[in-house]
Symmetry: C2
Subunit: 143 residues, 2 copies
DNA sequence: AAATTAATTGACAGTTTTACTCAGGTATGA
DNA sequence: TCATACCTGAGTAAAACTGTCAATTAATTT
């Protein structure tokens, strides 16, 4: 049960965007260099992040991307949703935990509980949580 | 982030084995018919479940498989481990949560926490929990 | 002993998903 | 008008997944 690299890259890229952003737009080229992700792959990712309402784009010279909301208001599960990776561990179940089996199958409860656990955990993490950890980490063992 | 059908089938097959077992070995043919899983695919799965110490095999006429331990002592995470599906959501991290990044990467904590959550949840479920739910379910809404 | 049942093994192929790349186009600021 | 940077959709190679096939070994029943 692996998260796709797409989802992992999306989270890393968002951290990078927030961490190195001074309010001015950050270009994908910068992120690509810093995180060693191909520029063209990033374009694909950010196109979805924009449609997901996570970031806003600024075109033209000096353009790039900025957060669409404050970092304390962007949850990790939203980022993953935006790049279209499901967080439900079984294909028979939709996002709200409903399943074709009408709860009659023996394994329904495990999978539903697992789905809720994963969703809940990732929803408790904000982009700001991630970046603050990064900063305290780089400034030494102050935490 | 999907669990493979291999893992899902393994869990279902184990429930079937326990639920319809009277102590005597249950043949894969029975499980195959009941759960509508191909016999040959089941063979592949149970070969791994045996190596994982979850079931014991009995060869010859009247043979089949039996639980290697009591159902209250078989955890769902063990079943999934046996069929060789990882429960760690990122490839850079091993089962004990150690990672090549030496905890310096910004996303380490999220993934490690997620891994622990998934493992912990599935370890709290035993095979017996699953089958008891199935029985109360089939006997009506008594729960 | 012979026949039958059933586990056991390893190889193999079809399909799907992933993880990208490529080739263009469009909007903006200098 | 030129450089920058976002934007889009198509295409592709590799990997993973899902399952099948063939052949063997071991135990039991007749
Ligand atoms: S068939 Fe999906 S949980 Fe029951
Ligand atoms: S590189 Fe794996 S969590 Fe840091």
């Amino acid at each position: 049960m692996r998260l796709s690299t797409k989802a992992q890259y999306a989270v890393r890229a968002m951290v990078s965007l927030h961490l190195h952003g001074t309010g001015a737009p950050v270009s994908l080229r910068d992120i690509a260099v810093r995180e060693e992700i191909s520029l063209q792959y990033l374009e694909q990712l950010f196109s979805k992040l924009r449609r997901g309402g996570i970031v806003d784009s600024v075109r033209g010279t000096g353009g790039g991307y900025v957060l669409a909301r404050t970092a304390t208001d962007i949850r990790v599960d939203e980022i993953i949703d935006s790049v279209e990776e499901t967080l439900v561990p079984v294909s028979c179940m939709d996002d709200s935990g409903r399943c074709s089996c009408s709860e009659q199958c023996v394994t329904h409860n495990v999978w539903q509980g697992l789905a809720e656990g994963i969703r809940g955990y990732l929803a408790s993490y904000t982009l700001d949580d991630l970046t603050r950890q990064a900063q305290t980490k780089w400034s030494g063992p102050s935490a």
